[in-house]
């Protein structure tokens, strides 16, 4: 699993990014200040750092410079509300690998994370295309086709479908699904809604309910 360090002070942006990246199989460690971000980047192992420029304690450029000065070659993707060419050049010059101006498209961010992160795509088992029965799921392009017809899914719906299809022929417990997709068991009733929706799309019999255990994808 790709591990990303997110250094951003806007609480709500962090919340939705963390959530969104989780559904894309990306683990996010987040912090609000440059100082903590630098400490984390030095002490732990990450595949990528997403760095905001307007941090409350110091500029993102400073964090980046200090990081590079300490000899780290951690890929850094800069996230910023400053969009002038001057700032872009400054960011890239101080050692950033990529640059995303706010507001950005989540899909683009995801694509760039995948492109820049240390972990090569081929080694990532979560990116191989899965085909079970009449369903074809492409994790990289986030598409699902049923009988050759594309089905539009939200992030979590896709993640749930991915989980069930990758474990096809094996029972996935409710706890397992909740933990994997929502990261908490508190959303049990939502799981039912999602299973119902997936069945309406992939066929009622594609997902079997195993009483007292969980769900089984049969395709």
């Amino acid at each position: 699993m790709t591990r990303v360090l997110l250094v951003e002070d806007e609480e709500r942006l962090v919340a939705s990014l963390k959530d969104g990246l989780r559904t894309a199989q990306i683990e996010v460690v987040d912090t609000r200040t440059g100082r903590e971000g630098l400490a984390l980047a030095r002490s732990q192992d990450f595949d990528l750092m997403i760095l905001d420029i307007g941090l409350p304690d110091q500029e993102g450029f400073t964090v980046l410079r200090k990081l590079r000065a300490s000899g780290s070659d951690l890929p850094v993707l800069i996230l910023t509300a400053r969009t002038s060419a001057e700032d872009t050049v400054r960011g890239l010059k101080s050692g950033a690998d990529d640059y995303m101006p706010k507001p950005f498209s989540f899909d683009e961010l995801l694509a760039r994370i995948r492109l820049r992160s240390r972990k090569p795509l081929t080694e990532d088992p979560t990116t191989t295309v899965i085909e079970v029965g009449h369903c074809v799921l492409d994790p990289l392009n986030r598409t699902l086709e049923v009988d050759g017809e594309p089905v539009s899914l939200s992030n979590r719906e896709f993640q749930l479908a991915h989980l069930l299809m990758s474990q096809a022929g094996r029972v996935v417990t409710r706890a397992e699904a909740l933990e994997h997709v929502w990261g908490s068991a508190a959303r049990a009733n939502v799981l039912d809604v999602y299973i119902r929706y997936l069945r309406s799309r992939m066929g009622t019999h594609a997902i079997k309910t195993v009483r007292g255990e969980g769900y089984l994808f049969v395709g």
């Binding site: 806007e10 969104g20 509300a81 002038s84 507001p103 498209s105 989540f106 939200s154 939502v190």
Partner: protein, 469 residues
């Protein structure tokens, strides 16, 4: 296309200069001419009078040749005429029995005998009184004195005429003044040439000013006009430079405001976009949460846009419309409004009396902004005081809270746009800049005293003689 270029300052100044010099030369010349002519006439008159006196003296005396009385009128006239010293412009004629008998000899002098018409006129007009007369013939203009020699019965025996060729003298004078005119025109040409060069040199700063300001308006605002010398043109250049400073500053401020605004709007936009992209339509709870987040962000952006509009207006003259405001009533209404903003221990610390000139609406906005800040940064039921005063030529409007105060390192920056002391508290960091802008538009300022842990005192200071700075 204009065929005639508008006159330049250089051309005009030179025009004035040459015209004035020409007028001076002309006036001096004409005055001198008149004086010289009068002098010529005076000299003619006195000369003629002197010669006539000499004739009288000769006539009343004996014949110097015989030492006897004059034998005849003819003898006297011969002697008189031979005594006359002639010149190019002066001569005499003696008539005997009505016939011009004697004229001075010689070649180079005035030859009256060539002008019989004049000789006749002179003989006819002879009178016993010495009168200088004028006569004009075809040849010249004369001034002359003609006196008769009469016998005991009053019969005219002879006439003695002494005459001056005035036209020749005036022609001499005219020649002199023609030469003067030529010299004058030459002098004017020299004045013009020197004037053209020195006026051009004098106006060089203006040309430079024109050229530089043109370049500046065409290219960028960072250039300045070089200051030459220490005169009023140099001061003009300094004034233009100062104006350019202000322009550049205003443009920079505008750019910064736009930059800041863009920066501040992008972050909520990023939150909104990401939230919408990651919306789970089948997850009702998440939909409700996202809706709340989005509405909140929209409200925040709306406030931000409103504040930015106020700040952008603050540089315009119509931002405040000052009218006489009664401080006492103004304070009462502000205090009443303040109390609706939160549950605090409200107190009116002072109520100023008198009338000042200000925009009551903007000042209320500013004061209420300070009050809402006080409410935001103080615990419920803590005391918040408002007050106003008018003394030392200043109106003071203040808000005192007993909240957490402002940390020292933030105090200097708290008036900067988008500076927030506490990121967790709602707001874009435009409140105090707006208050400061309103105070500034009244010619005043916003004063801050704050002790961390004890509270803050914000005072809007407005000079009584309000003038925009």
């Amino acid at each position: 296309m204009r065929l005639i270029r508008p006159p330049t300052v250089r051309g005009r100044v030179l025009g004035y200069l040459v015209t004035l010099a020409a007028a001076a030369v002309a006036v001096a010349g004409m005055a001198d001419y008149a004086l010289e002519r009068a002098g010529i006439d005076r000299k003619i008159n006195s000369d003629l009078a002197l010669r006539t006196q000499a004739f009288f003296a000769l006539a009343s005396d004996n014949d110097p040749a015989t030492d006897e009385p004059w034998a005849s009128a003819e003898e006297l006239m011969r002697a008189a005429i031979s005594q006359v010293i002639v010149s190019a412009t002066e001569s005499a004629v003696g008539h005997v029995d009505g016939i011009p008998r004697f004229v001075p000899g010689g070649e180079t002098h005035l030859r009256l005998e060539d002008d019989p018409a004049f000789m006749e006129t002179a003989r006819i007009t002879a009178s016993a009184d010495v009168v200088v007369r004028s006569a004009r013939s075809d040849l010249r203009e004369y001034r002359y004195v003609s006196v008769p020699l009469v016998d005991e019965e009053g019969m005219v025996l002879a006439t003695f005429t002494i005459a001056t060729d005035r036209s020749a003298l005036i022609a001499d004078l005219n020649r002199t003044f023609r030469a003067f005119a030529v010299a004058g025109i030459g002098a004017l040409l020299i004045v013009g040439a020197i004037g053209w060069i020195s006026v051009g040199r004098l106006l060089r700063p203006i040309r430079l000013l024109d050229q530089t300001t043109r370049e500046i308006s065409e290219t960028d605002l960072t250039q300045r006009i070089p200051i030459i010398g220490d005169d009023d043109l140099a001061r003009l250049s300094e004034t233009v430079n100062a104006m350019l400073d202000r322009l550049e500053e205003a443009f920079a401020a505008q750019r910064r405001l736009l930059d800041d605004a863009g920066h501040e709007l992008r972050t909520p936009l990023a939150v909104m976009r990401t939230s919408l992209e990651l919306l789970e339509p089948r997850d009702e709870k998440q939909v409700a949460e996202t809706q709340a987040v989005l509405l909140d962000e929209v409200a925040m952006m709306s406030r931000l846009v409103d504040d930015l509009v106020v700040l952008a207006q603050a540089d315009r003259p119509e931002f405040v419309r000052p009218k006489p405001v009664s401080l006492g009533e103004f304070t009462d209404s502000a205090f009443a409004r303040a109390q609706t903003l939160g549950d605090r221990d409200w107190s009116l610390e002072a109520r100023g009396e008198g009338t000042f000139c200000g925009d009551a609406q903007r000042l209320t906005q500013a004061w209420m902004q300070l009050v809402s800040n006080a409410v935001k940064f103080s615990p419920p039921d803590s005391s918040v005081g408002l007050g106003s005063s008018m003394r030392d030529g200043k109106v003071r409007l203040w808000v005192r809270d007993t909240g957490k105060g402002i940390p020292k390192k933030h105090q200097a920056r708290v008036l900067e746009r988008f500076h927030r002391v506490d990121e967790s508290v709602d707001g874009a960091g435009l409140g105090l800049p707006i208050v400061a802008a309103i105070a500034h538009a009244h010619g005043g300022l916003l004063e801050l005293k704050s002790t961390p842990g004890t509270g803050s005192l914000f005072t809007i200071l407005i000079p009584l003689k309000a003038s925009r700075s």
